[in-house]
């Protein structure tokens, strides 16, 4: 009897996250569908103007989508070399003692709150960019890319390092025993073997960057206009939701439009995570680890 009760309690706990997920998805759909009766979905996604408070309002989120894409792409350019490079160093070149110190430090970077990153972006990166590029404002897609890239680096590094670690020692030994040097072994055996694990790391890094809100709200500049260069202010989807939710009357079109943005964002990160999961499963099978 008592045992049954415990089992029930833990089962409820275990299913709680599933219930939350389903609840969130349900609310996202329910609250975003009304907007599509006013604006058709193609116009919503590909509309070039986001003027939610004008009359008549315009609900085109292309500027927001492109802003997210630019910023995420820029962040990838920063976090992939940094993250994968440091993973390679940690795994292949650093001695055990150095590694024992460095890896936790890299992971510690992930525990810095995003508002702190945003703060640094505002007070240090912003004036710096403004000066170098002689810009009217330093709050730009470029700035957001840099800061997001640094933020995503620990994710990429940590997962990529795990992937390199999973490459069995026997592959390296076999390669060395054939007369390959360290560099050849790394490039031709270790990296291909860890390849899909490293891809997983990159996808999860992207997913981290695209979903980040506070930082982009603080440093991306906030202009809901289609960006033409990295040096313009932009308003990514997350920033639009965070900045506008407070001023959109509950039940208004603007309110539903913001939910629709959240739904799209959710679907994008959901797809990223599924791809990452498939790729990493394939990776484990390839290395003969369990499926």
């Amino acid at each position: 009897m008592k045992e049954k009760l415990y089992k029930l309690i833990f089962m409820v706990l275990a299913f709680a996250s599933l219930i939350f997920l389903l609840g969130i998805v349900f609310i996202l759909f329910k609250e975003s569908l009304p907007i599509f009766s006013k604006v058709n979905i193609g116009k919503f996604i590909f509309g070039r103007f986001w003027y939610p408070t004008y009359s008549p309002p315009e609900f085109g989120i292309l500027p927001l989508i492109l802003a997210s894409a630019w910023v995420t792409f820029g962040a990838i350019l920063v976090c992939v070399p940094l993250g994968v490079g440091s993973a390679l160093y940690l795994n292949e070149l650093a001695g055990p003692r150095q590694r024992a110190i460095l890896k936790p430090l890299v992971e510690l970077l992930a525990s810095v709150p995003s508002v702190v990153f945003g703060f640094f972006g505002m007070v240090i990166v912003t004036p710096f960019l403004q000066k170098i590029f002689n810009l009217p404002t330093g709050l730009t897609a470029f700035n957001a890319s840099l800061v997001l890239g640094v933020m995503a680096t620990p994710t990429v590094c940590s997962i990529a390092e795990d992937a390199l670690n999973y490459v069995p020692k026997s592959f390296r030994e076999a390669s060395f025993a054939l007369g390959a040097d360290r560099w050849q072994t790394l490039i031709q055996v270790v990296i291909p073997a860890a390849g899909s694990g490293i891809s997983t790391a990159i996808i999860l890094g992207m997913s981290r960057a695209i979903g980040e809100t506070m930082t982009v709200l603080m440093v991306a500049g906030g202009a809901a206009v289609i960006p033409h260069t990295f040096l313009e202010p932009v308003r990514p989807m997350t920033a639009a939701i965070a900045a506008e939710m407070g001023e959109a009357p509950v039940g208004s079109s603007h309110y539903h439009a913001l939910f629709a943005i959240a739904l799209i964002l959710f679907l994008v990160t959901f797809i990223f995570n599924i791809i990452a999961e498939i790729v990493s499963r394939r990776f484990r099978i390839k290395l003969g680890l369990s499926g």
Partner: protein
């Protein structure tokens, strides 16, 4: 004993940290013969064989004294690049360890890292070494399949082929049949007997019957010492040392 000596070890001591794994080992490895190293687990035989291609350098915090020669070359001297030694002294490991690449690429990898670029000659040598390793007929129609799809015994023969492709002179086998079934084991043993025509072979095994079947010389290791070394026939029929006798008659192990 007029046979040529291919490798020899003189006064070899080896340490993992402060633990001495090998104590003053001397041995002669005869060219085109099979030398078996036997002994109970932890006796140092695997550590010893890995000194012949400088694989122990990959293990941190180890140290070595004494000399090891390949022909007349001291392989540990400072001017020698371990990469050069490993090209001449190949190794087959306890667990088959093909790369997660195609069958073809598993063999061509060694060629490419050793500077062979010409596609035709790579193809020829891949085929030749697969034939030598007696696995060609089983894989010739699926050279682009992943090597990991092969059975354990096939994988091990592929690993042998991989060694042969790079023109190795000595092949070190570190318990090559430890994870294989009896039929695959028989195939590997047959192959070893065939290969000794062209190569010098050292095999570590904990299977005494295997040592008796395939080897010409046998060395018995115990607690890091080479207790007895001689012709396999003599070791198994008339061991000089009591400990060797006790081991081969199965009194411990």
């Amino acid at each position: 004993m007029d046979k040529k000596i291919k490798m020899r070890a003189e006064g070899v001591n080896f340490f993992y940290g402060r633990t001495q794994a090998l104590k003053n080992v001397d041995i002669l490895i005869h060219a085109n013969q099979v030398t078996a190293l036997i002994g109970p687990s932890g006796c140092g035989k695997s550590t010893f064989i890995r000194l012949f291609n400088r694989m122990n350098e990959l293990v941190p915090d180890t140290s070595l004294s004494g000399n090891i020669y390949l022909d007349d070359l001291e392989i540990n001297s400072a001017q020698i690049d371990p990469v050069e030694i490993r090209k001449r002294v190949g190794m087959v490991f306890q667990k088959p360890n093909p790369f997660p690449k195609s069958i073809f690429d598993n063999i061509s990898y060694g060629l490419r890292v050793n500077g062979v670029r010409d596609a035709n000659s790579i193809e020829e040598r891949v085929e030749a070494s697969l034939k030598k390793a007696a696995i060609w007929d089983e894989v010739k129609n699926r050279l682009n399949d992943s090597a990991l799809k092969l059975s354990g015994g096939q994988q091990q023969r592929l690993c042998i082929a991989r060694c042969l492709a790079v023109d190795t002179e000595v092949i070190l086998f570190d318990e090559p049949c430890a994870s294989l079934d009896p039929i695959s084991t028989a195939k590997i043993e047959e192959l070893i007997l065939e290969l000794k025509k062209d190569y010098t072979i050292v095999i570590v095994t904990h299977n005494m019957q295997q040592a008796a079947r395939v080897s010409d010389y046998t060395g018995f290791f115990l607690l890091g010492e080479l207790i007895e070394f001689g012709k396999t026939q003599d070791i198994f029929t008339a061991p000089q040392d009591k400990r060797t006798e006790a081991y081969i008659t199965g009194r411990f192990g």
